[in-house]
C-alpha cells in the first residue's frame, strides 16, 4: 500500500486519534502507517527482552493488532498517548510470555481473525563481508570485547571477568570499538 504523504506528516497521537475517530469503517491507510511506524519499536523491545527473533515477531503481531482493534473500538482512553499504550501492552505481553501463563500460540490465536494491515518492515541486515573486514580492522582487544559482548549479549562486567580487566575498561574499549565499527560501516562518527 503506497504511503500517503498527509499521513506521514501526522505524529503518532494524531494518527491514532484518526483511527479511533473512524470507528466501524477502518481507515486502512492510517492503520498501515501506524503499524509500519510502531512495528520496529515493538520488535526491538521484543528482541531486547525475549532475545528471540520469532518471539519478537510474534510480539509485534500480537501487540499491534490488539492496539488497532482497541483503537477502532474506542477502547484506548487517550489515543494521543498511543506510544505509552503500546509500551504498556508490550510489557504486559512479555510478562505473560515469560510467566508462561499464556502460551505464545494462544496469544496469537486471540488475534488470528484480525487482518494484518501491512507487513512490518524487516530489520536491514548489514553487508556481512564488509562487517567481517571492519571487525578484522579493529585492534585485538577491541575485537575481543565486541565479539564477547555481542555474540551472546553479555554485560561489561561479565566480559571484564573473562578478560581479567575492569568493567570500566570494557566500557571504554566497547565505546571506542563501536565508534570505529559504525564509521567503517558508513553509519557514524569514529569515537576518539
Amino acid at each position: 500500500m503506497p504511503r500517503s504523504s498527509l499521513l506521514v506528516e501526522l505524529d503518532d497521537g494524531a494518527l491514532a486519534r484518526r483511527i479511533a475517530e473512524t470507528g466501524a469503517a477502518p481507515d486502512s491507510a492510517a492503520e498501515a502507517e501506524l503499524y509500519r511506524r510502531l512495528a520496529p519499536r515493538v520488535r526491538l523491545y521484543g528482541l531486547r527482552h525475549l532475545r528471540d527473533l520469532q518471539a519478537a515477531a510474534d510480539l509485534v503481531q500480537q501487540v499491534l493488532l490488539m492496539t488497532l482493534e482497541r483503537l477502532r473500538a474506542g477502547k484506548v482512553r487517550d489515543p494521543e498517548s498511543i506510544a505509552s499504550f503500546v509500551l504498556g501492552s508490550c510489557r504486559m505481553t512479555v510478562l505473560e510470555m515469560r510467566r508462561g501463563t499464556r502460551r505464545r500460540e494462544a496469544l496469537l490465536e486471540t488475534w488470528s481473525d484480525a487482518a494484518e494491515p501491512c507487513e512490518a518492515p524487516e530489520q536491514e541486515a548489514l553487508d556481512p563481508h564488509r562487517l567481517a573486514g571492519c571487525l578484522e580492522a579493529l585492534s585485538e582487544r577491541e575485537r575481543s570485547v565486541v565479539v564477547l559482548t555481542f555474540f551472546a549479549d553479555r554485560q561489561a562486567d561479565e566480559v571484564a571477568s573473562e578478560l581479567a580487566i575492569s568493567g570500566g575498561n570494557v566500557r571504554v574499549i566497547r565505546h571506542r570499538a563501536l565508534g570505529r565499527l559504525r564509521k567503517c560501516m558508513g553509519g557514524g562518527e569514529e569515537v576518539q
Binding site: P40, S84, S139, E140, F150, A164, G179, R182, G188
Partner: protein
Amino acid sequence: MTCRSPVALDALVAYWLGELPQEREAALEEHLFGCTQCTGQLEELAALATGVRATVLDGKVSMVVSEPFVDAMKDAGLSVREYQVEPGGSVNCTIGTNDDGVISRIRAPLAGVQRLDVVRMLGASGPEERLTDVPFDADSGGLVIVPSAAWLKAMPAFTMRMRLIAVNDAGEKQLAEYTFNHSPS
C-alpha cells in the same frame, strides 16, 4: 522528526545489554517508543549485534577469546575442533568440512605479564605479522585463539610459527614459540 534529546550510543548499548538500573531502563523505553530517531539508532545497534553474531557463526573473523566464549560457541550449536600446544611445541592441525571452527589453546607462562603481543609468520620466510596488546587472563595460563574458519578452509597446507612476546616499560621478552602444521582435510 528530529529528537530534541537524542539518547547517547553508550546508553543505548547499556540498555540493549541490560546494564541499566530498572528506573532508567523504563524511562529510556518511554522515550524510545515515542521517538523514531532514537529507535533508528537502536535498530542500527541491533543490526550490528546481529551481524557480529552472524560473522562469528560463519567463521569469518579471527579472534582471541575466553573459555566461557568457547562454551557459548558450543551452546550455539557450532562444531569446533580443539587443539592445545605447549611452549616450544608443535601441533598438526586441520579443519574438517563439517567443522564450524577451530580453537587453539596456547599454553604460556603469563604471570606478571603487563602487555602481550603475538608475532606470527606463515611459511619459512613469510612476512611477520604482529598482533599488539592481545587480551589475556594471566591466571588462565594461556590464550584461546580462534582463527577464521573461512580462511582456514580456503588455505592449502602451511606451517605457521607463532611467538608470544611480553612487553613492559623495560622492553620486551619472548615467552615461548609454537609451530602449527596445517593440512587441508
